[in-house]
Amino acid sequence: MITRIVGMAYLGLLVLATGCDGWKTPSEPPASIDAELRQSLGRWGTVPIGPTPTQAPALVDLGQALMFDKVLSGNRDIACATCHNPVSHAGDGLALSIGTGGSGLGPSRTLGPGRQFIPRNAPTLLNTGLNNPYLFWDGRVSGFGFGGGGPFQTPAGAALPSGLPTLLAAQAMFPVMNREEMRGVPGDHDRFGNVNELAAFGDSDFVGLWQAVMRRLLAIPEYVSKFNAAFPGTPTSALGFQHAATAIAAFETQALTKTNSPFDRYLQHDDAAMTTEQKRGALLFFGDKTRCASCHGGPLLGGQNFANAGVPQLGPGVGSGTPLDLGRGELFNQQEFYKFAFRATPLRNVELTAPYMHDGAFSDLDAVLKHYNDVPTALREYDASQLPPALQQTYHGEDATITAVLANLDGRLAQPLHLTEVEIGELVAFLKSLTDPSARDLTSLIPARVPSGLPVQE
């Protein structure tokens, strides 16, 4: 009898067991900040950056000389390093840059008579050697080889010489072409009173201009030696400006790649590299509340896409959009999709590269984050008095402009983020964790002299 009862009870329990999962809904479990952050990083493909290829010393030496030599400019008064100066962390510290004709260096640089601001901020050259897929604020030099010009797409199209090894080298071909930046305008005379022969070339005569710049360089025996050392297999007669650009890019890659920030060490599994506040900021940055990483994600923390971030319009404007700057929209015939869209810059060392955005509208990271916190409101309430006096009059704060910018605002920024002051502080702390300590002082990169004998730092 007892076995029968037990048997029945057993079978009943067995039936119950097979249909029962036995779960209760768990409440919210605590998670470690590192585990949560690493999952977020993985979600956005933010992985460590490996070493950059070692550059040949002779190539770097030549590139350094070219970077600091004003002989590349039409008026012999401005070098690449004038706007990308080591003292200002390979930028110039200005909201909008000042090109040929200007005087001084860094934030104290002033416009020359009759000159105007360059329409856009001079981006830092730090980490440009990491092979960003787009260069310039509007991405007009890119690593996508459609449209002619070999593996790169550039304004020169098919005129771009072959043999450029990297996109950065291709980019280095163009500042010498820009009249406001380096070339000057017809009628200009150089610092010695000579006619600026580079200004005479047509704006589409890329080949002629590049050849003219090379004639200047190869007229200096020291440059001939340096070119021959850097390109030992190339006869002097075959040297072109692409070789100069290659050397400049090699110098940038060798000297200005700075990827040993606390965040980089954290990416390489050093949990102690970042402070808790920085990690909280990183969680916000890579999290759903801000989705900063949707533009500034990937290994480079940006540089891969474009967005209209509702940045106040400053400056003289660009092209057909003048006096406004339509950004990538100007490049694509004012196509609505790209209007006011600019490259989302890679963010490593961003702490050092103020002012921010394509026109330097914000002087510090706190101001940038407050702008992102509520873009429509921030744009309407932008206070131009924070700008240097010379720029205040170039602010386009009229309703029509603001309405036009907001009409095409990136959808991710249309609604306020509702960040608290504490959260903004944490985001700033995270952004400061992107600073490689060795990028704080780059003055050792400044050469004592350059082959042309022109002054280096004036």
Binding site: T3, Y10, C20, G22, I49
Partner: protein, 501 residues
């Protein structure tokens, strides 16, 4: 199927004991405890594992070496055991061989086992297939010298026991040592989602002293003192993805991370058993205490386990009854397990708290206080279907239900916050068995299936296409937080036992 995200602090992950009784399991997530070390022959494991009031002369000596005195004759045994986790999530097989014997008042036993454990990771390849970055970049091939991980690993286990009966006193004393050289603990590879290879090595030693006192009238008292040391090392190889700026490709580089899982346990158990006045009924009580310390726990992203120490005090109070009625035996156990456990994380660098304070190096950043109220119900019966001089055939059925409930109070000294968590689950284990006894040998089969447990599953993430980015940016996929997927474990054991003379 239940599917949940795992993001718990967790203590005392998995401590393998060759003989599991008297060691109280402590788990904060229902990871399937695959029956890897449930390898020795038993009379009662097919009856739901009832043990308090039902003696098991085959299995008891592995738990209390003094009970080896109950072996009246020398016997050889073997018990090929196979287990598998559903959904192709793991499995293993073990072949133990052993013998019990006695000379005069001395008795002893020896057993050896070889075990093969299958890799339990998901068959899906990981890291996932390369995907292009904007600009046509892709993932370069991984290190060529990292060959495929082996599918199986082997363990070796040994057990030795010796004891003596003190004539005329009804008292027996015994001691045993279990030792296992381990290269594979089931499920450990799943603790490292995203890893390319997990190499385990280590050992566990379990030493026991037992006492058995038997009185007239079939009353008995048992006492056990045990010490267990468990030392495992996990060499985990990850293939980290890097961005190579030169080639504009993602590339992978091997990174070795060494994790240690060390623990020590002391335990005592006392057990008393006697017949009841009513015919055929017996009753037993037991009380167990364990003190466990874990100076190292494996540091795994899967469970957010800090690689920091913990300790626990676990207790067990149980009562069991049984009744023998002709050819049938019925048994039932009820066990209550209160457990208190504390784990903590220590600051590896001076850490600033959200309140502005500073936690010095080595100071506690998090403290977890767990309180468990676990319960165990076991019931089962055995019925002899055929009984004759030449053979006996018996059928056994049983059911074990384990209820786990705990509350966690977590103090986060960095965030200056307190969190609370309540968690509970049930595990159901039906068992069954069949035995055939002949004068010259004994054949047994037993099976069990455990429901209500989970296995970690790391799911590769889908790549993120930024639809509203300009142009489309595509990042390589990573893994989603691991989830717990419901599985069941089936164990089959065939055992043979025969007298040596």
């Amino acid at each position: 199927m239940t599917r949940r995200v795992v993001s718990l602090c967790f203590v005392f992950l998995a401590v393998a004991g060759i003989a599991a009784a008297q060691t109280i399991p402590i788990q904060t997530v229902p990871l399937v405890p695959a029956d890897q070390f449930d390898i020795f022959p038993s009379y009662t494991l097919a009856m739901g594992g009832v043990s308090i009031a039902v003696p098991d002369t085959l299995y008891d000596p592995f738990l209390n070496p003094a009970t080896g005195a109950r072996h009246r004759a020398a016997r050889f045994f073997s018990a090929p055991t196979f287990y598998s986790v559903s959904r192709n999530a793991g499995g293993g097989r073990t072949l133990p061989l052993g013998a019990f014997g006695s000379i005069g008042t001395w008795f002893g036993g020896l057993a050896l086992a070889l075990q093969q454990v299958d890799a339990s990771r998901s068959p899906a390849p990981f890291p996932p297939s390369p995907l292009p970055l904007a600009g046509g970049s892709s993932v370069a091939p991984g290190p060529a010298n990292l060959g495929p991980a082996p599918d199986t690993h082997g363990n070796a286990l040994a057990f030795a026991m010796i004891g003596k009966t003190l004539p005329g006193s009804g008292l027996s004393l015994g001691g045993s040592v279990s030792w296992a050289k381990l290269r594979a603990l089931d499920g450990v590879d799943l603790l490292y989602p995203g890893s390319a290879r997990v190499t385990q090595f280590g050992e566990t030693v379990d030493a026991r002293l037992g006492l058995l006192k038997e009185w007239e009238g079939d009353r008995s008292f048992e006492a056990i003192v045990l010490h267990e040391r468990f030392r495992m090392t996990h060499d985990v190889t990850f293939l980290d993805t890097f961005w190579n700026p030169g080639t504009q490709q993602f590339f992978q580089s091997a990174r070795l991370e060494r994790n240690r899982d060390f623990s020590k346990r002391w335990g005592v158990q006392v057990k008393y058993e006697r017949p009841l006045a009513a015919s055929g009924w017996r009753i037993g009580w037991l009380a167990t205490a364990n003190r466990m310390s874990q100076p190292n726990t494996p540091n795994t992203d899967a469970l957010n386990i800090p690689q920091d120490p913990g300790r626990a005090n676990a207790y067990e109070l149980g009562v069991g009854v049984s009744r023998t009625y002709g050819p049938a035996v019925f048994g039932m156990d009820v066990v209550y397990q209160p457990i208190w456990s504390t784990t903590w994380a220590e600051a590896s660098t001076p850490t600033t708290t959200s309140g502005g304070g500073l936690i010095p190096l080595g100071g506690r950043t998090i403290e977890n206080g767990f309180h468990f109220s676990n319960a165990l119900f076991r019931m089962g019966f055995s019925h002899e279907l055929v009984r004759s001089v030449s053979k006996t055939a018996a059928l056994q059925l049983g059911l074990a239900v384990r209820s786990v409930h705990y509350s966690l109070a977590q103090r986060d000294f960095v965030e200056v916050a307190t969190r609370r968590l309540e968690q509970s689950w049930l595990e159901w284990t039906p068992t069954w068995g069949l035995s055939l006894r002949f004068p010259e040998l004994e054949l047994r089969y037993r099976g069990r299936v455990t429901h209500g447990t989970d296995r970690l599953v790391a799911t590769p993430n889908q790549f993120i296409g930024i639809a509203d980015a300009r142009p489309l940016g595509i990042f390589p996929p990573s893994s989603l937080p691991p989830t717990l997927d419901g599985v069941h474990v089936i164990t089959h054991q065939f055992s043979v036992s025969l007298p040596l003379r």
